[in-house]
């Protein structure tokens, strides 16, 4: 029972969600008594050395194909061929847009079952079972596969990347004849960075401000802390409504939904309308002077205290720590 993963690369480095998939694939393959391989697709920058580094994450083989980068359909062609030629039983993808597209394309090509937004995978009776949270994470379904191959698409950051190991993977070139339709989308420009303002949906760290900041100027404290942490500033509906902060930064039922690594809520009570927009954040820290604020019920670290005292000192301490 071997597992095939896809490793996305850009400017000479592999994507961290892809490395998560490779590591997870290797771990699961071991449990199933098989091995994990990775597919890489691109141009000359996919050197032997670079490809072999996937061995450090547990891949035994790396299938390398020359084809356009950053688009899904050429990868579907390559992976379908590798699976068919070598009998891989599962295809595993880390979170991210391409993983969804490639996984979906393979589903159609191979008539295979697919599970997406997967947060964990387990080996059970010699087969893989994917865990997928549903209904705003209020339940988790265990999904099994009727037949092989099975396709598993992870949620962003679902899979851990253990410290890199020693091994080098064997690099195998795949000669691929792309399907006609796979050549009809052409990348014109890739990875364009737009504007200086951070998109709060993408930020790893968010400092969110609510009415507890007291006045519009209170956001200066939040902005300073966000800058020190290397994150962006978000806001609740109440303060957006009151005109303290722009709508683009609003989190919640009628604003944006975010799931950063750190969500630091400053002066936010934690009404359900806000909670639904941020409850999937990895770490939630709340600072509020009201010890009864609902936000403390779903925060990982709660501080009952005065923002005006805590935020400036915290900003300084974070700066000092980061050097």
């Amino acid at each position: 029972m071997s597992i095939l993963t896809y490793a996305l690369h850009y400017e000479g480095e592999f994507n961290k969600n892809s490395l998560g998939a490779v590591s997870e694939g290797a771990k699961l393959a071991k449990e199933l008594g098989g091995e994990a391989a990775a597919v890489v697709v691109g141009g000359d920058d996919l050197t032997d050395e670079l490809c072999a580094t996937l061995g450090q994450y547990g891949a035994t083989k790396v299938y390398r194909a020359k084809a356009p980068e950053g688009l899904a359909q050429p990868v579907v062609d390559v992976m379908a061929k590798v699976i068919q030629d070598n009998g891989y039983k599962y295809a595993l993808f880390g979170g991210g847009l391409l993983g969804f597209e490639i996984g979906a394309g393979l589903t159609a090509r191979l008539g295979a079952g697919v599970t997406m937004e997967v947060t964990a995978v387990k080996a059970q009776d010699g087969k893989l079972v994917a865990e997928r949270p549903i209904l705003q994470d209020s339940a988790i379904v265990d999904v099994g596969y009727v037949d092989e191959p099975g396709i598993i698409i992870g949620r962003l950051n679902a899979f851990d990347i253990p410290e890199a190991g020693e091994g080098a993977a064997e690099v195998i070139d795949v000669d691929i004849q792309l399907e006609a339709h796979s050549t009809k989308a052409v990348m014109v420009q890739r990875g364009e960075q737009r504007g200086a303002d951070v998109n709060i949906e993408d930020a790893d760290i968010l400092v969110a401000g609510g009415r507890g900041l007291g006045k519009p100027e209170g956001f200066e404290l939040a902005e300073a802390l966000a800058e020190a942490l290397g994150g962006a500033v978000a806001a609740t509906r109440a303060v957006v409504d009151a005109g303290w902060y722009p709508y683009a930064a609003q989190i919640g039922q009628t604003g944006k939904t975010v799931a950063p690594k750190l969500y630091l809520a400053a002066g936010i009570s934690g009404a359900i309308q806000h909670k639904v927009g941020m409850q999937n954040s990895e770490n939630i820290v709340a600072i509020n002077k009201d010890p009864n604020a609902p936000i403390f019920e779903f925060s990982d670290l709660g501080i009952v205290g005065d923002l005006n005292k805590i935020l400036p000192k915290l900003t300084d301490a974070v700066k000092a720590k980061k050097g």
């Binding site: 957006v240 009628t254 604003g255 009404a271 359900i272 309308q273 609902p294």
Partner: protein
């Protein structure tokens, strides 16, 4: 120290602003036969009854054009904005669906047992036996009007009615002294009313007859009553009900009403009202608290009083192990017989249901009146059309209402609500005499009063329970439970003066079950800066208003503001209320 909210009237003149001639070019107007505004029990019963009457009249039906009957509903669809107890007398359903067995009705079946309790305090409950007649419900059906509305809408649609959800009736179209239709609300305006990129203006809907079935605090109904000067000399009054639906572990085997605690019924507070607890099948119960809006203490909050009520052992026991699945709020007209509009029609237009004040206050019942009046409207219009006449004189509608149970019941209880302005005990005694005397005593005409004319004062801080998110809930999470997901930049549909004395501002803040009005902390501080640590009720404060929270209960219109319809589709999306 006290102020009457009426001293701060809303900046609006409904008779001119919401009434006017059609404005779309003649060839762009949408022509329908009969236009119905409001997809509640009244409007839907009207629509269905019309289809029944027209079923045998092919030529007449054809003469009404491509769209013989159109119904506009401001919520997402019929039912979205509907909320009631709801205990329904079966007479209207029997008339509208004579061949449908009662067990196939969209209800939780008829009531078999009921008990009225007096709650002297937060611990004890004294059953009043025998149950006084207004609280006897044998044979009545418990239902959810949100579900009843959806069911009726399905019947109407199957019969060929055009149901236009997400469409507010914004303006009553009047030309040459007769109602010629209704204009739908604009969509895609910003917070300050400015057209956004996807702005879509409303349309003129031209009809031979227009039936206003808008329910409590009807937007066009209010404007029409002013425009045609058909109101009663006695002002309408309202009560505000907040209710929750709970999934419970053990079935409730009877209908419960309570009076007394946690309301302060002394004349100083005048909190007239009570609670209802109805079984909804085996696994759900409907629980609500209804209080007259002529109460006086700005600290009082119906929503929070309902949360408090759930702590009473009588109620707590019923909810044990349960889970709240729905929440909502609505006003109901309680002016009764005397406050009903003097004339129930104008040329080309008919008023029905709650909008026309058709509600029996002592028994808390209006769903069947709404349906009956809707059917009468259908019959009255049909008679005129069938005779080949214009719908200018619709006095035949009044005649039908006046010879019906609506008239009989409400006349009988005509003076029952008013005495409660004297406090609960005196009022209760007089109302009881009225019941015992079969409506003969007290005689005469007891005046109603406008809720907004009642002085409000800032009482002692209330000790409402702290919401725990399990048994007791804050207002915002309740708004969430109502299904309200109104976009934040929707235009403000609430007309009030934003700078008012603190006692009025606090009253609005606490009254509103949906946290639309808030007195900002700094304003509160400024109002208590007089040195003695007490709040200065006369100090004028500026309110912060969040109209997107609004669940369209209508309380603000009773208490000194004016609610207008939101953008079509906004507001709550009630499923089980």
């Amino acid at each position: 120290m006290s102020t009457a909210p009426i001293e701060y009237p809303p900046p609006v003149d409904s008779a001119t602003e919401f009434v006017g001639p059609p404005t779309d070019p003649a060839d762009e107007r949408i022509e329908v036969g009969v236009a119905i505004v409001g997809g509640g029990p009244a409007g839907l019963a009207c629509a269905i009854r019309l289809t029944q009457l027209l079923a045998e009249e092919e030529t007449l039906l054809e003469s009404l054009g491509e769209v013989p009957i159109a119904l506009v509903e401001k919520g997402k669809g019929p039912g979205s904005h509907l909320l009631s107890g709801a205990m329904m007398k079966p007479s209207a359903m029997q008339k509208l669906f004579p061949d449908l067995p009662e067990e196939d009705w969209p209800t939780y079946g008829p009531v078999e047992k009921d008990t009225l309790y007096l709650l002297p305090n937060g611990k004890r409950a004294i059953p009043l036996k025998p149950t006084p007649p207004p609280f006897r419900n044998h044979g009545n059906h418990v239902t959810s009007v949100a579900q009843l509305g959806r069911w009726l809408a399905q019947q109407a649609e199957d019969a060929g009615v055009y149901i236009l959800g997400e469409t507010a009736g914004a303006k009553l179209l009047v030309a040459d002294g007769r109602v010629v239709g209704v204009r739908s609300g604009d969509k895609g305006r910003g917070r300050d009313g400015q057209p956004l990129s996807n702005f879509e203006p409303g349309s003129d809907l031209i009809a031979q007859a227009t039936v206003l079935c808008e329910g409590t605090q009807g937007h066009l109904t209010g404007a029409a009553i002013r425009h045609f000067e058909i109101g009663s000399e006695d002002p309408q009054q309202w009560e505000l009900g907040v209710k929750e639906v709970w999934e419970v572990e053990k079935p409730l085997d009877r209908v419960i009403h309570t009076m007394g605690w946690p309301l302060h019924f002394a004349a100083k507070y005048r909190e007239f009202g009570g609670s209802f607890i109805y079984p909804m099948g085996e696994d759900k119960i409907s629980l609500g608290l209804v209080v007259g809006l002529d109460y006086r203490d700005a600290r009082f909050s119906v929503h929070d009083a309902l949360q408090e009520l759930k702590g009473h052992p009588l109620v707590a026991d019923l909810l044990e192990g349960g889970k709240r699945v729905a929440w909502g709020a609505k006003t109901l007209p309680s002016g009764g017989y005397w406050a009903r509009p003097r004339q129930l029609w104008a040329p080309g237009m008919i008023l029905c249901g709650d909008g026309a004040g058709m509600l029996n206050v002592p028994t808390l019942k209006g769903v069947h009146y709404a349906m009956h009046s809707g059917m009468f409207a259908a019959e009255a219009i049909f008679e005129r059309l069938k005779a080949g006449r214009m719908c200018d004189d619709l006095s035949n509608y009044t005649a039908k209402v006046e010879s019906s149970e609506i008239e009989e019941d409400t006349y009988r209880s005509r003076n029952m609500r008013q005495p409660f302005a004297k406090g609960f005990l005196v009022g209760g005694a007089i109302a009881n005499m009225m019941e015992i005397s079969g409506g003969r005593f007290p005689g005469g005409r007891w005046a109603t009063h406008d809720d907004a004319t009642v002085d409000v004062f800032i009482g002692k801080e209330r000790d409402y329970p702290k919401p725990d998110g399990k048994k007791t809930f804050d207002k915002l999470s309740s708004v969430f439970a109502s299904g309200n997901a109104t976009r934040d930049d929707a235009p403000n549909h609430i007309r009030i003066q934003e700078k008012v004395p603190l006692e009025v501002a606090l009253m609005w803040q606490n009254m509103c079950p949906a946290q639309v009005y808030e007195v900002p902390d700094e304003e509160l501080e400024a109002a208590s800066a007089n040195g003695n640590g007490k709040l200065d009720g006369k100090h004028e404060v500026k309110l912060q208003i969040t109209p997107s929270n609004c669940v369209q209960c209508g309380a603000i219109t009773a208490k000194g503001g004016r609610l207008t319809p939101p953008e079509g589709g906004d507001g709550p999306n009630y499923q089980a209320t």
